[in-house]
């Protein structure tokens, strides 16, 4: 029936208009919301380093519960890729990077609002298959013949940290592969393709079912700072500030330390 169709179409149109209206209010940073974390609403888009995937997803859920009416969406990727995306104008509210160098790319381009803050630190461990079949106890064991090692490429934070730690230990080793990010290096251990990889403690803990993390003293020479910042072009600045405050709060920190990160 023609009239029936018309009515359905009108109803759909009304629904769409209502939705657009609501999300519009949420994202354009409506004037009545202030910097205080009370009463923030709307969508918050967080660009975060891939090593934060598990803990930030949890923090996002907690934040939504603590602030009804907010909705947190994440874009997890390598910090450098995220920095590029932000500098090319990606619509993000918050950036959490796994290294000061990648944070600097964003602040140098003038895309940060205020100063970035260190919220956690992460340290390298040697990830080995469960049971540690090669009995790896330190970096020197990785240079033994027949031990296949995956490192991160030097261009990414975990690779730069690995280089520092190996230099500090005076160990020269030839890895079989230089992976593009820490999770890729970890998955090579999980799949049994390599005997060991240098990854962050938090990553090793996330794969505790298949992987053991062997601590080594030289990792103290290569501690990675994780920094967070509200972005200058943030579509929802009030909620962005509330989210950053939540990450820095006791509750946010406890989620992160449980995941293997260290308090700064």
């Amino acid at each position: 029936m023609r009239r029936g169709w018309a009515r359905t179409a009108l109803a759909a149109l009304a629904a769409v208009t209502a939705l657009v209206g609501v999300s519009g209010c949420g994202t354009d940073g409506s004037p009545q919301t202030t910097a205080s974390s009370a009463g923030v609403t709307g969508a918050v888009t967080v660009f975060a380093a891939s090593s934060l995937t598990d803990s930030f997803t949890q923090i996002g859920k907690d934040f939504e519960v603590a602030n009804p009416g907010t909705h947190v969406t994440f874009n997890f990727a390598g910090s450098s890729a995220l920095a590029q995306q932000i500098n090319q104008g990606a619509p993000a509210d918050v950036f959490a990077s796994a290294s000061p160098a990648t944070m600097k790319q964003v602040t140098d381009a003038g895309n940060g609002d205020g100063d970035s803050m260190t919220f956690v630190k992460n340290q390298l461990v040697i990830a080995v298959p469960k049971g540690n079949p090669d009995r790896v106890v330190g970096l020197a064991d990785l240079a033994k013949p027949g031990v296949k090692v995956a490192l991160c490429a030097e261009q990414v934070p975990c690779g730069a940290a690995a280089k520092k730690a190996l230099d500090a230990a005076g160990v020269a080793l030839t890895p079989v592969t230089l992976e593009q990010d820490v999770r890729a290096a970890l998955s090579k251990v999980k799949l049994g393709e390599v005997d060991a990889a240098l990854v962050y403690r938090s990553d090793a803990r996330s794969a505790a079912a298949d992987v053991e993390g062997v601590e080594f003293p030289e990792s103290a020479q290569a501690i990675n700072d994780y920094l967070v910042i509200v972005l200058k072009e943030a579509p929802n600045k009030a909620a962005a500030q509330a989210f950053v405050a939540y990450v820095l709060s006791q509750r946010g920190r406890s989620v992160l330390t449980q995941a293997g990160f260290q308090a700064p």
Partner: protein, 289 residues
């Protein structure tokens, strides 16, 4: 030309089938205007494909180009890319042409399923393809474990691994192109060869293959281009090590982590080399007017 002319048993005549008509009729554009309904989407389509490349060209750091070209590792990665893509294409032709022939000419139960399976690498995200390859050819994989224990061969993190990853992702392009050419080819030539006493293998070699040669060439070109640009399966299965498994796309990706300009230069080198090679091949092998 009619099939009657082809009745000759002379081999050259049969081979001639693959050649285009000797004198193409002159094209007359006068009075044959291109319809606007086709022209506008065609122009938009072209712009859509070409603009991103223009973006790279405009953004390229032309002043520092020579130093960046001479940077260590660039030529190594380029050489490795060209080598692995070429070997992968050869593998694809050797295995893919017979596969396409079976799909096009042999009627067997489950052919539609097999045809769909051939396209799996096309829909599979390449990184997943790389994981799948690890599960089969990796050190703990179904086949890889046996290779390792019996022959001491491990494929991941080797140049052979790069070829395997590229061939896996690129082969469907060749199979689909060749199968299409085979289905489009006139089967009467093959039947004529059979009535003249040629076996199926001779017919394939002497009649079918020359007949679909342009299709094979087009498929091989597609296959090579896809292999050259392969990233996800390669980095997952073969890893990334300069000189051994770091192809140009991997080098571009890692350069992007630090330095956008270097990444753009590397991309342009890869583009320039591949476009040059493809254009020269096209002129020589595929005589499209």
């Amino acid at each position: 030309m009619s099939t009657h002319d082809r009745g000759s048993t002379r081999e050259n005549d049969v081979l001639d089938v693959a050649q285009p008509a000797p004198v193409p009729p002159p094209r007359r554009w006068v009075g044959r205007r291109v319809p606007v309904a086709l022209l506008i989407p065609a122009a938009l389509g072209l712009a859509f494909l070409v603009l991103p490349m223009a973006g790279l060209l405009i953004r390229a750091p032309w002043s520092t180009l020579p130093q960046r070209l001479a940077a260590p590792g660039v030529l190594t990665a380029l050489r490795l890319s060209l080598l692995t893509a070429t070997v992968a294409t050869i593998v694809c032709v050797v295995l893919g042409v017979p596969l396409a022939w079976v799909l096009a000419r042999v009627d067997f139960p489950g052919r539609r399923v097999v045809r769909a399976l051939v396209t799996v690498p096309l829909v599979l995200p390449p990184v997943v393809g790389g994981v799948a390859l690890l599960l089969v050819f990796g050190r703990r994989g179904l086949v890889g474990r046996w290779l390792d224990e019996t022959f001491g061969i491990t494929l991941p993190f080797t140049t052979t691994g790069v070829v395997i990853a590229e061939a896996f992702v690129a082969m469907p392009f060749l199979v689909i192109a060749v199968e299409g050419a085979l289905r489009g080819a006139d089967e009467r030539y093959e039947e004529a060869a059979a009535t003249l006493g040629a076996g199926r293998w001779t017919t394939f070699r002497r009649v079918t293959l020359p007949l679909v040669a342009p299709g094979v060439a087009a498929g091989a070109v597609l296959c090579w281009a896809r292999a050259l640009g392969e990233f996800g399966a390669t980095i997952t299965f073969a890893g990334n090590f300069p000189g051994r498994t770091q192809t140009m796309p991997l080098a571009v990706y890692l350069a992007l982590e630090k330095d956008l300009d270097s990444a753009i230069v590397l991309s342009l080198i890869l583009l320039a080399v591949s476009v040059t090679i493809l254009a020269s091949l096209r002129d020589r092998w595929i005589n499209t007017p």
